[in-house]
């Protein structure tokens, strides 16, 4: 890094290497703890390729905890980035895929797909995408025109869309007498447990291009915060950019939802926290959300695994317990 390196690049590199360390740290923690206990020393030895705690512990670490930690990191990253993008598009720091009901729409699509007997990939992912796109269109119509600028209109339409989605989900569930019902219910609450490395890999492959496209548009998102008029006078094709971001983000959210169900408020907590620390520049926030959101989700999932005395709870329970109160605090502060 010499003096000619642009300041932004320097900041991106410094901030994100710190966050990358944080993510690695939480992933190490995620590998070290589980329902059978385990110790960090064993994981460390296993990482170095030594047979520390025996073949069984090795299996538990690499075949059970590792896919889960990877999945949690991916999900946290995708949801945080989703929140970040919606906040920029709607110029509203309270926007978030779950709060807006977009996750709910994806869940409706995914459940319909499951009940129709589609394959998890690409069938259910596609039906989830259709669901999230439909709700997105619904929200945009509900809060169209000037109202987009008004927080209350946006949140209200989000609440309504969310309530509607919940009702449809309950409807679908009561219409079926299916042995998979338990699984669906658990998955709805945000379940990271039943995924292997192969599925996590598919999710990673779906998310990576999304992250790239969004990073390419991160400076544009900065300009969009000044309003679409001003952005346009700075040479941005606002319509194309907004459409691209909407499609990419709802694809990202639906891919995530179809893998692990409804996990809320991550897209609110992480972008907000990072913005508070590092400022609102999206070129810095975007990679920071990927790494920081990943770390946050790994921790939430870890808590969901180790807190209950028996079995485990949904990671969505933890994220909602942290996120919902924060949302209320933010709403109250933004009202001033």
């Amino acid at each position: 890094m010499n003096s000619k390196t642009p300041v932004v690049i320097k900041r991106i590199l410094i901030i994100n290497s710190l966050l990358a360390l944080l993510l690695l740290g939480t992933m190490f923690l995620g590998l070290s703890m589980g329902s059978t206990g385990g110790s960090m020393g064993d994981v460390w030895r296993s990482l170095k390729g030594e047979e520390g705690g025996g073949a069984m512990l090795n299996d538990i670490i690499w075949k059970i905890r590792f896919p889960r930690v990877i999945l949690a990191a991916l999900v946290g990253a995708a949801l945080s980035v989703g929140g970040l993008v919606f906040q920029a598009l709607l110029r509203n720091p309270l926007a978030e895929p779950y709060i807006l009901g977009i996750s709910g729409g994806a869940a409706i699509g995914a459940i319909s797909g499951i009940l129709m007997g589609l394959a998890p990939f690409p069938g259910v992912s596609l039906s989830a995408f259709c669901g999230s796109t439909a709700t997105l269109v619904l929200i945009l119509i509900l809060s169209s025109g000037q109202a987009v600028m008004v927080k209350d209109a946006l949140l209200l339409s989000g609440v309504m869309v969310n309530a509607f989605c919940t009702a449809v989900i309950m409807f679908l569930i009561s219409m079926t007498q299916d042995s998979r019902l338990h699984t669906i219910m658990f998955w709805l609450m945000g379940d990271l447990s039943s995924v292997d490395l192969h599925q996590a890999g598919i999710l990673a492959l779906m998310l990576a291009p999304c992250f790239l496209v969004i990073f390419r548009l991160s400076n544009t998102m900065n300009l969009l915060l000044l309003g679409s008029d001003l952005a346009q006078t700075m040479g941005i094709n606002v319509k194309v950019v907004i459409l691209t971001l909407l499609v990419v983000t709802s694809f990202m959210v639906s891919a995530t939802v179809s893998h692990c169900g409804l996990i809320g408020f991550v897209g609110l907590v992480i972008p907000h926290l990072l913005r508070l620390i590092f400022g609102p520049d999206h070129r810095i926030l975007l990679p920071a959300c990927i790494l920081g959101g990943g770390a946050y989700m790994v921790i939430c999932d870890l808590l969901a695994r180790v807190l209950p005395a028996q079995g485990e709870m949904s990671a969505g329970v933890i994220t909602a317990m942290i996120g919902a109160p924060l949302f209320i605090i933010l709403l109250k502060r933004s009202g001033r």
């Binding site: 047979e51 007498q177 658990f186 039943s194």
Partner: protein
């Protein structure tokens, strides 16, 4: 430094190669292949010593076969017999804790098709844990399951004994209820709010019919929901409520139904409580459930022995 590194890599590589070579030979030498109830060919050890039962019914069967000492893990709600509740838990049967299962180092898991998620079964198999799946959907299939698990565990004799005893007791119930003059209509309530009853494809339906009753809510839905109006319209002769819910709930529900004195079951005071564990678990105890139901539906036929232990 460099040399050392290369050495340790070499050793690791050798170890991996050795274990890959050793693993299949180990299985082939000690194992055998069987076909499970789903028609899958599964390689299992000759005499499995570390078994995990992935549903409470499997736990009961293994206990009944006197093979509990080989049982190393069970699921939540495995409460019968009492000794089962102290065994390590591996989550509930719909939400299994794969990590716990692996940590118990089982050489065989026994799963049920209706309940255990397929994804978890695949995960376990990808971790080289053999999974033997059973699918007991009716009383006859439960007896087959007991026989098959007996064969897998190498205790065929005990399995035969159990099945023979079940057959004998079923026959006794059959001949007794055959003497009944009429077939009462039974409403079997398993859910309080909402009201949930049982359809045709359930153990309970089968047991009601075998016990000389008529299930008023038969139909394609396994667990249909009903409104209060519908229930009253069915005019049940016998009203059975299961004990899934705790405490004084039964008395409350009973009092609630008593507000309709024209209902035959109320008129004749035939609103009764039954233990759900006897009726919906695919275990040898289903026969106890059958005997219980027969007594509840046709008390007049069992009056002679009513002093003797009701379960």
């Amino acid at each position: 430094m460099n040399n050392l590194y290369r050495n340790s890599r070499l050793t690791t590589g050798l170890l991996i190669a050795l274990s890959i070579l050793a693993l299949p030979t180990f299985v082939v030498a000690e194992g055998r292949t069987v076909r499970d109830q789903l028609g899958r060919v599964v390689s299992i050890p000759l005499t499995p010593q570390r078994i995990i039962a992935l549903a409470p019914s499997i736990t009961e069967i293994i206990f009944a076969l006197d093979q509990a000492h080989r049982l190393k893990g069970v699921t939540q709600y495995s409460d019968y017999p009492e000794a089962a509740s102290i065994l390590p838990k591996v989550g509930s049967y719909v939400h299994l804790d794969v990590e716990k299962i692996v940590a118990l180092q089982p050489d065989l898991c026994i799963a049920v098709k209706d309940g255990n998620p397929l994804t978890v079964i695949h995960r376990l198999e990808s971790l080289d844990i053999p999974v033997y799946a059973v699918d007991p959907r009716n009383l006859a299939a439960v007896m087959d399951t007991v026989t098959e698990i007996g064969a897998v565990l190498g205790s065929q004799d005990r399995a035969e004994e159990i099945v023979a005893d079940m057959r004998r007791r079923i026959e006794t119930v059959r001949t007794t209820v055959a003497k009944a003059r009429r077939i009462p209509g039974v409403f079997f309530q398993i859910g309080i709010a909402p009201i949930v009853a049982v359809g045709t494809h359930t153990f309970i339906h089968e047991l009601i019919v075998m016990a000389g009753g008529r299930n008023l809510t038969e139909g394609p839905l396994p667990y249909p929901r009903l409104s209060k109006e519908q229930v009253i319209g069915l005019a049940p002769d016998v009203f059975i409520i299961t004990s899934m819910e705790r405490g004084g709930v039964f008395d409350k529900v009973k009092a609630e139904w008593k507000r309709w004195p024209d209902m035959p079951a109320v008129k004749n005071d035939r609103i009764v409580l039954a233990d759900s564990n006897l009726l919906d678990r695919a275990s040898p105890r289903l026969v106890n459930g059958l005997e219980l139901l027969a007594r509840l539906i046709h008390p007049e036929l069992f009056e002679a022995e009513s002093k003797r232990g009701t379960p």
